[in-house]
Amino acid sequence: MATTYFTEDHEWIRVEGGIATVGITDYAQEQLGDLVFVELPESGKTVSKGDPAVVVESVKAASDVYAPVDGEITAVNDALSSDPSLVNSSPTGDGWLWKMKLADEAQLEGLMDEAGYNAMIG
């Protein structure tokens, strides 16, 4: 059973069996506008909570997407290299950014659930 968490930086984290899939929310893609490039990390890289992991670029802005928790990146969404618009069209589906093995599941406790996130963005 997957559980989905949200961060104040407009990321979603779907956790299933100790592996988290990370992406940006629909609200975030709306704010960024049409994405033209996604700079993905190398698989196998270890990241700490708050590290910039991915850069998403629109024509006029480049924004860091931060690692929401500590862990090791196990996969990246290579489809975004040829089609970054997937993040716009399907932010929580085909537009996922990376998967990571969680170092400490306890870190998830500080994150929001969907209702909490929706309340935050109003």
Binding site: V36, F37, E39, E57, S58, V59, K60, A61, A62, P84
Partner: protein, 927 residues
Amino acid sequence: MTDRQAIFADRHIGPGPADMRAMLAALGVPSLETLISQAVPQSIRLDRPLDLPAPAGEAEALAELAEKMNRNKVLKSFIGAGYHGVHVPPVIQRNLFENPAWYTAYTPYQSEISQGRLEMLFNFQTLVSELTGLPVASASLLDEATAVAEAVGIAWRHHRSKRNDIVLAGELHAQTLDVVKTRAEPLGMNIGVDEIGAETAAVIVPWPDTHGVYGNPKDIIAKAKDAGAIVIFVADPLALTLTEAPASLGADIAVGSMQRYGVPMGYGGPHAAYCAVSDALMRLMPGRLVGQSTDAHGRPGYRLALQTREQHIRRDKATSNICTAQALLANMATAYAIWHGPEGLQAIARRVNGLASRLAAGLGIDAPLFDTVTVSVPGKAKTIAAKAQEAGLLLRVIDEDRIGVTFDETSTEADLQTIAGLFGVAAAAEAKSTLPGKPRGKTFMTQPVFHENRSETEMMRFLRRLADKDLALDRAMIPLGSCTMKLNAAAEMMPVSWPQVADLHPFAPASHSAGYTAMTDELEGWLAEITGFDAVSLQPNAGSQGEYAGLLAIRRFHLERGDANRTVCLIPSSAHGTNPASAAMAGMDVVVVKCTDDGDIDVEDLKAKAAQFSDRLAALMITYPSTHGVFEEAVRDICKAVHEHDGQVYLDGANLNALVGLARPGDLGADVCHMNLHKTFCIPHGGGGPGVGPIGVKAHLAPFLPGHVDIGSAHAVAAAPFGSASILPITWMYIRMMGGAGLKRATETAILSANYVAERLKAHYPVLYKGRNGRVAHECILDTRVLKDSAGIGVEDIAKRLIDYGFHAPTMSWPVAGTLMVEPTESEPKRELDRFCAAMIGIAEEAAKVADATWPKDDNPLVNAPHTAMETMADAWTHPYSRQVAAFPQGDGNFAGKYWPPVSRVDNVGGDRNLVCACPPVEALAS
């Protein structure tokens, strides 16, 4: 002052006396002095007139400058070392170089009104891509030395700043090596490491080296590839017309100077450098890149692509701090290549190589070379060079024992015979190719543009056709905030073309540049007086380079005092992106200082951060007046707070046009300041370069100004000692003709014009960030978000609709997203200001019709702007507004005449998702 002397300032300043009275009346102030006292705080005012020579009239100033520059001794140069004699094709000199339609244009951010120069820059990229074999070429860099430094930066970032060693596979030009070392030092890189290994970021292959010799880099390139290092070629682009493309030899990056493609030496600049990279390095490339996209009707349209690499978006994480390219010079070089075509360029190259090979053969030298022969003359170098000078020729004295001879397209058979005679030999009768590797053949530059403009009639019309697509200052006001698009007067421009200005080699003997020295000495003194500093360096060849040079001076000052820890650079959140980008390149750690809601620096936050980093504080970077166009009254306190913690204050002079004659950065407490001669001091923007960014410093920083190997020092930031020397006379002429009082009046008028525009438009668009008395400085920010709220009309719609009204948009979404920043400058006459205000009011009225649903939100003249002639004349017209509203929104009341954009709105997203940055060769088009 005689009437004749007064003439220039009166012509430079747009509004006449009656206009000024009307503008003051609109503001409800009795005099200019009253307005200035409201706008500019008394606490910063200069209490005396500037101490400058009384103004000269145009003829008088030209005569005075000619007398000076005639002291230059222009001999025929065989010095080489990166600078070559050229024949500027007259058709290019007259129709491009000396044509205000080309040189008064701004950087092509607004693509729809910039298609002409974008097309030419796209051709430049295609040319570079063809010569180097690398797929992605930028729209030029500042000079060869900084281009090599930028290439090293690409390699360093490619290795995520983890590899710090650079290996040299041959000797670079001395000035290039010095600039590369200057850039590498703050980043902790090591230049000239012997062995290739796991720490090697890049290997630099000079092609050929500074002595004209091609090494055999095969093994070293193979080793570099094994080690994962980047291979950088520094290649002569004329030689490349005859030799293999660097890409096929293994280059990942190729850079070099395009000067010898028909741009005069000009005592060192300005010229365009080229930079091309492999696909893998595309996003690490610095500087501007033109991409081909499509417009709203599916026709091809050019635009600046991948701007997220650049400092104005990425700030301290940008690929470089550079903003300006060398658009005008890149366009000249491209026009030269189009004029000659590939076979013409090859003929020039073969002739140059023939002369060099015949000298080499006569001397018994057998080495792979292109245009340069280095001759061993033990103990006799100076004697031979002196004899050459008697014959009117300048040779390169490398040391006591070696002389370099470099041929170019201006070299003659007689020159060859004379030079051979100086060495006591006869030149060989027959030329033979002495170039390395496989010959190039004819399969390059096959694109039609390089083949279809060979008659002068066609070339003249080609240049006119491109110029006609663009909107430059020769057609209309360009009200770009922070860019100071003022008049570039003809009298200021004329000296740039004089042979005694244009044809001097930067490393000519000092006694040959006496005219330049007299001019630069005087100019440095004037700029020091205007800014309140003790010393000035004219070397930085762009504003960004001035920033960098200023921060390096601060860095070296701290290091000299044993303060190696002082690396924190405080930068207000409102700063231009170049500031943090420059600080990062100078090895500093950026700490952001908050701004208050009214746009000023948060003084309490500044004091707290200065105290927090007291032991590590290197500098504060502050823009004055602020990027929001406000004279902050606390500026002296701000400087004092930084000095109390032994930090230095860097003042960004972007907004100097609000200060000249009224206040001086040096008096406010700044230790160093750069001035953009291409803004405040009349050097034209060239359609995206050249720029000139000198710095002024207080005496304690003077020892740390950039030096140059040619004068026996180091730490240069540009290739030539005086950077873009040949355009410095523009500023000399401006100051000489304005005098202190004229300059002050220009500043006052610029402030009047900005306040007049703000006053006229405030009922339609809120004016953000005013000073204490409700006045703005020399620019104003119009809050166009009101139209977004009421009608869904965004700032981009307004910017594009202004094109239909015949205007270049003001600065968009900077410093505040969703707003327009307007800087009219002193040069715009009142009726042009009124035409602009009428356009802005017209747009507000149009938006009202969208708000009240007269026009739908998705089909109205704003969202569909700009409208092309083709579209408005087409048989079919389906919009709910008339063709006249589309194209002639002011009826026939527009005295400036109609400007027709050549394309409708260009697709930015599509252009960045599918980057096309060079025209494919014809074979590819056919397949």
